[in-house]
C-alpha cells in the first residue's frame, strides 16, 4: 500500500461489537454523544452535532416505539469552502442497524490528530448519519410506511412473509425515495431536508448495509460472501438498455473472446466491462474496491456468479465488475429512484454479507476508508 491509511479498521473491539448489537436507541444515542464529547475535548477539528428537525411539528422530537426521541447527525471537517462533501449513512434499514458503531468508530478516528487526516479535513467536510432509521432501530424492522406516510413498524421481523412487496416495486417499501411525496414518511422527509440544510450540495454518498441474523434463508447462501458494492452512477436509458443486452466476462471462454474483441479494431463490444471502461465514476469505484482488498478485506467474489451460471435466472441487478453491481430493471422500469441517487450525483451502497459481526464492521470501516481516499483526498 503506497497510501497512508486514514482509518484503521483493525482497531474495532469486541466490546464495540457487543454494544452495537445489544443496545437500544436511547443508550446508543447517549453513548455516542459521550464519546463525541470526549473526542471534542482533545481534537483540533471539533465534531459538530446537528439535531434533525421534525418536518411536521417543527421541534426535534420523533416518535419511536419507546417514546419521543431525538436524532442528530455528526459533522467534521472544513465547513466554509469544502472541496468535497461526503455523507455516510448507516442503518438505513432499521433491522440492519449494527453498523452504527462502525460509523462512530470512523468518526472518532477521524477526530484524532494525525497527518493524513488533518490534510483531509482541511480540504472538505464529512457528515455521518449513524441512526438513519431510528424507528426500526429498536424494533429491528425495515422502514415500512403505510399509505398515509406514517411508519407502521409494528411487525417484528421474523421473516419476509409479512412483506407483501419486498422489492418496492409498487412503491410501498422504499425507505428514502418514493414516487408520491405525500406518501414519504415523516422521518424520511425530515432526513432529506436536514441533509440539504446541513451538508449543502453533496459530492459523494456512502450508504452502508449489512445482512445479519435477522435476515432469512436466501442470504444464508451468501454467508462469508464478503462486501458487495452497489454503484450509484448515472446511466442513460440507452446505456442501460445496452448493458442489459451484454454479459459479464466470467468464464474462461469469455476471457478469450474478450481478448480477441479487444485486439480486433472493428469487433463489437461483447462485455459490460468494455462498454464502461472509460466511465469515470466506475473507475473511481473500482479503485475503491481494490483499496478495500488491499486493506485485507474480502469483497463479493465472482465465484458466486460462476456458481449461478448453472441455473437459468433473470437478472435483478447488473454486475459491472467483480463485486460491483448497479441497480437494474428492478428499479428502472417502474421508475424508482434509490435514496442515494436522489441525494448525490455519485456514490456507493455497500452490503456486508452475513458473517462474523466484527468482520462486517471491519469491512464497513475499510469501505469508508477507501471512499475517503478516492472520493475525498483525491478530489
Amino acid at each position: 500500500m503506497d497510501r497512508k491509511p486514514l482509518l484503521y479498521p483493525e482497531k474495532i473491539t469486541e466490546e464495540a461489537a457487543i454494544i452495537s448489537s445489544s443496545v437500544k436507541y436511547g443508550d446508543a444515542y447517549d453513548y455516542s454523544m459521550e464519546l463525541v464529547d470526549k473526542a471534542n475535548s482533545r481534537t483540533s477539528f471539533p465534531i459538530r452535532i446537528n439535531k434533525v428537525k421534525n418536518d411536521d411539528t417543527g421541534d426535534t422530537f420523533f416518535q419511536n416505539p419507546r417514546g419521543q426521541v431525538e436524532k442528530c447527525t455528526f459533522q467534521i471537517g472544513n465547513n466554509s469552502d469544502p472541496q468535497f462533501n461526503i455523507l455516510f449513512i448507516t442503518g438505513t434499514h432499521g433491522e440492519e442497524s449494527r453498523l452504527w458503531r462502525a460509523g462512530l468508530e470512523a468518526l472518532l478516528q477521524l477526530a484524532e490528530d494525525n497527518f493524513p487526516r488533518t490534510a483531509l479535513l482541511e480540504k472538505g467536510q464529512i457528515t455521518f448519519d449513524l441512526f438513519s432509521d431510528i424507528h426500526g432501530f429498536d424494533n429491528q424492522s425495515r422502514g415500512y410506511s403505510g399509505r398515509n406516510g406514517i411508519q407502521v413498524n409494528a411487525p417484528l421481523i421474523t421473516g419476509r412473509s409479512h412483506d407483501r412487496n419486498p422489492y418496492g416495486l409498487g412503491d410501498r417499501n422504499s425507505e428514502q425515495g418514493r414516487n408520491s411525496l405525500e406518501a414519504v414518511s415523516v422521518l424520511s422527509r425530515s432526513n432529506q431536508k436536514h441533509y440539504k440544510e446541513v451538508c449543502g450540495p453533496l459530492t459523494w454518498i456512502g450508504d452502508h448495509h449489512e445482512t445479519n441474523e435477522n435476515s432469512q434463508y436466501p442470504s444464508n447462501f451468501f454467508r462469508y460472501g464478503g462486501i458487495m458494492i452497489i454503484a450509484h452512477i448515472f446511466l442513460s436509458k440507452e446505456e442501460q438498455h445496452r448493458l442489459n443486452s451484454l454479459k459479464r466476462c466470467i468464464t474462461v471462454t469469455d476471457q478469450i473472446r474478450k481478448v480477441i474483441s479487444d485486439i480486433l479494431p472493428f469487433a463489437p463490444v461483447r462485455y459490460r466491462e468494455q462498454l464502461l471502461y472509460n466511465n469515470p465514476s466506475l473507475r473511481k469505484i473500482v479503485k475503491i474496491r481494490n483499496r478495500i482488498r488491499a486493506l485485507g478485506e474480502r469483497t463479493f467474489e465472482d465465484i458466486h456468479e460462476k456458481a449461478l451460471l448453472l441455473f437459468p435466472h433473470v437478472e435483478r441487478d447488473f454486475s459491472l465488475a467483480e463485486s460491483i453491481w448497479v441497480g437494474g430493471e428492478m428499479f428502472s422500469i417502474p421508475g424508482i429512484l434509490l435514496g442515494p441517487e436522489v441525494m448525490a450525483p455519485q456514490g456507493i451502497t455497500t452490503e456486508s454479507f452475513q458473517q462474523d459481526l466484527m468482520i462486517r464492521m471491519r469491512q464497513t470501516l475499510a469501505a469508508m476508508e477507501a471512499q475517503l481516499q478516492y472520493a475525498g483526498a483525491d478530489s
Binding site: E14, I18, S22, A307, D356, I359
Partner: protein, 532 residues
C-alpha cells in the same frame, strides 16, 4: 432377526468450550463449543458394532457456568446436525438410487451393443453416465449410516484438572488480546502451539481454533456446493447432484463472561425509581421453594414444563423491548427470606434460579422427545396401514389427475410432490427457533433480571409438614393441604414424584437427576433445613 443382547463399546468425545465471539445464540455474542472433527467422528464407528457415546464437556471456571439445560441443548444440536446431514444424503439417494441402477444397465447394454450388434443408434438411447449419478454422496452415506449404531448418548461435565487449568489459562490469555476476532484466534493458535510440549489438550485447543478460523474464512454454501470451474462442471455432469459438505464441528454456546456488559442507563434496573413506565409488567415467572426429605429444597415452577417453555418465549419477546424479567420466589418462612437476600447470596441466587427454570424446560423437552419418538410412530404406522394407496406408484395418482386435466400443471405438480424444499425447512426452523429463543431469553436475563422473595404462608405450612415428617408420611400428609390451599399443580406433581421415589432405593437416581440443579443449598436458608 432380533438380537436380545449385544456387546457395546464405549466411546467418549471431548467438547471444549472456548472463548471467542460469534453471532449465533444471542445478541451479546456467543462462545464456541468445539467437538471432534466430523471426519474423525465418523471414522470411530464400525458397521458391525454397537456403541454408547459419551460426551465430556469441559468449560473454564466462571461465575455463571452453563446449566444442565444448556448442555443438553448443545448435545442435541450436535446430534441434530449429524442427523440432518444423514437425512439429506438419504433423501438424495432416494432420488438417484434407481437412476444409478438404470445407468449401470444402460452402460452395460451400450457396451454390449457396440461390441456385438454394431448398431450405433444405441448411442441415442442409452445414457451410461447415469451410473455415476450422486456417486459421491452415496459413498459418504455408507459411512455416516454407521452412526445409527449408537445405541444411546450421554453427557457429563469433565473433571480433568489439567484440562480445566488449560481452559482457564486460555481464557486469561484471551482477555489480554486486542483487535478483531480473526487476529485473536491466530494468536491463540500460536500461543497453544508454544504451550504444548506433548500435552494433548493444548493441541486440541490449537486444532479447535484452527477450525474456527477455517469456518470464518471459508466459502459460502453456494460457492461450495455448486460447480464453479470447468473440471468441477465435468464432475457435475456425471454426478448430477451437489456434494454436501460435512457438518461443522463448531457450535455456539452462551457467553460466559459478564465483563462485556454495557451498563444501560435506559434499562429498568438502573432507573426503576425514575420512570414508572419502564418497570416490569407481566414478565414474571413464579417459583416455589419446596422442602424435600433428603437433600436441599427444590425450586418448583408454578407451571408445568411445557407451559413454562411458552412463558419463557413470551418473556424473551418482552425482554427484547427492554422489559426486565422478574422472578418471584416463594419461600416458607421469614428466616429463609432474610438469609437468601443477604450479601453475596443474592448474586449467586440469580444464576441458580435461572438454571432451575431452564432445567424445568429441559424436562419438558425430554417429554416432547419421548412423545415424538415413542408415541407418534404408533399412530403414524397405524395410519399407514389404514390408508391403502400409499405405495410409491399410488402416490403418483395426484400427478395423473392433475396432468390429465391441466397439461401445464405437471411442473407445479412435480414441485408439489417431489421438490417443495421449504416445507420441512420451515417446520424445522420454527421448531429449533422455539428452543433457541428460550436460551436467548435466559441469556438476556442473566443481565437483566430482578428477584423478589416472598413469604408464602401455605408453602410454609407444607414445608413444615414435610420437614417434621410425622410417622414417615410427610409427603402424603401434605397432599391434602396442597389441594386445600389450591397451590399449583406442578407442586403436587413434584411431591407425588418425590414420594414415589422415596419408597424404593432403585428410583433414587431418577429422583436425584430430576432434582439436580433445581435445588438451592440449604446453607443459604439458615438452620431450619440443615438436617437434610
Amino acid at each position: 432377526m432380533s438380537r436380545f443382547s449385544c456387546k457395546t463399546e464405549d466411546i467418549s468425545n471431548d467438547v471444549l468450550i472456548l472463548p471467542g465471539f460469534q453471532e449465533g445464540l444471542s445478541q451479546r455474542g456467543s462462545w464456541f463449543a468445539c467437538s471432534t472433527r466430523s471426519k474423525d467422528f465418523i471414522k470411530q464407528f464400525h458397521r458391525n458394532k454397537k456403541y454408547i457415546l459419551r460426551y465430556v464437556i469441559h468449560e473454564p471456571h466462571s461465575d455463571c457456568p452453563l446449566s444442565d439445560g444448556e448442555l443438553f441443548h448443545l448435545i442435541n444440536t450436535i446430534t441434530f446436525s449429524f442427523d440432518e446431514y444423514k437425512n439429506m444424503l438419504q433423501r438424495m439417494e432416494m432420488q438417484y438410487r434407481d437412476i444409478r441402477k438404470r445407468g449401470k444397465l444402460n452402460a452395460f447394454i451400450y457396451i454390449l451393443g457396440i461390441l456385438t450388434v454394431r448398431w450405433y443408434w444405441w448411442i441415442f438411447l442409452t445414457r451410461g453416465e447415469m451410473s455415476l449419478n450422486n456417486h459421491q454422496n452415496a459413498v459418504k452415506l455408507k459411512k455416516i449410516v454407521r452412526t445409527n449404531n449408537i445405541l444411546s448418548r450421554f453427557w457429563k461435565r469433565g473433571k480433568d484438572r489439567e484440562i480445566e487449568i488449560a481452559l482457564d489459562r486460555t481464557w486469561t490469555f484471551y482477555k489480554t488480546l486486542s483487535g478483531d476476532g480473526l487476529s485473536k484466534y491466530k494468536e491463540l493458535v500460536n500461543w497453544a502451539e508454544i504451550q504444548s510440549d506433548d500435552r494433548e489438550i493444548y493441541k486440541k485447543i490449537r486444532n479447535a481454533y484452527l477450525d474456527i478460523i477455517k469456518k470464518l474464512t471459508g466459502h459460502s454454501l453456494y460457492a461450495e456446493i455448486l460447480p464453479t470451474s470447468f473440471p468441477q462442471r465435468i464432475i457435475f455432469f456425471f454426478n448430477r447432484s451437489f456434494a454436501l459438505p460435512l457438518p461443522e464441528n463448531v457450535y455456539p454456546v452462551r457467553n460466559l463472561s459478564k465483563e462485556l456488559l454495557y451498563e444501560s442507563r435506559h434499562s429498568p434496573v438502573y432507573n426503576a425509581l425514575d420512570c414508572e413506565d419502564n418497570r416490569a409488567g407481566g414478565n414474571i415467572i413464579e417459583l416455589y421453594l419446596l422442602a424435600s426429605k433428603k437433600g436441599d429444597p427444590i425450586c418448583v415452577a408454578d407451571k408445568g414444563p411445557l407451559q413454562l417453555a411458552g412463558t419463557l418465549t413470551r418473556a424473551g419477546n418482552m425482554q427484547r423491548h427492554d422489559r426486565e424479567l422478574k422472578i418471584i420466589l416463594h419461600v416458607g418462612s421469614d428466616r429463609e427470606k432474610e438469609s437468601l437476600l443477604e450479601g453475596e447470596n443474592r448474586l449467586i441466587l440469580q444464576t441458580r434460579i435461572l438454571n432451575a427454570a431452564l432445567d424445568t424446560v429441559r424436562q419438558g423437552e425430554s417429554y416432547l422427545c419421548y412423545y415424538m419418538k415413542e408415541i407418534l410412530p404408533v399412530f403414524y404406522k397405524r395410519m399407514r396401514a389404514m390408508y391403502p394407496f400409499r405405495s410409491r406408484l399410488h402416490s403418483l395418482f395426484p400427478w395423473l389427475f392433475i396432468t390429465n386435466g391441466i397439461p401445464v400443471a405437471s411442473i407445479l405438480a412435480a414441485v408439489w410432490l417431489f421438490i417443495d424444499p421449504y416445507y420441512e425447512g420451515k417446520f424445522m426452523q420454527s421448531y429449533t427457533r422455539y428452543y433457541n429463543r428460550i436460551l436467548e431469553t435466559l441469556d438476556l436475563s442473566y443481565h437483566n433480571l430482578s428477584i423478589e422473595v416472598k413469604n408464602d404462608f401455605a408453602l410454609g405450612h407444607i414445608n413444615k409438614m414435610i420437614n417434621d415428617d410425622r410417622n414417615g408420611s410427610g409427603f402424603r400428609d401434605s397432599i391434602d393441604y396442597i389441594n386445600q390451599f389450591a397451590l399449583p399443580v406442578s407442586i403436587m406433581d413434584r411431591v407425588l414424584f418425590n414420594n414415589l421415589t422415596m419408597e424404593t432405593d432403585q428410583l433414587l437416581d431418577a429422583r436425584n437427576e430430576a432434582n439436580s440443579f433445581t435445588t438451592i443449598p440449604s446453607e443459604w436458608l439458615g438452620e431450619e433445613h440443615s438436617h437434610g
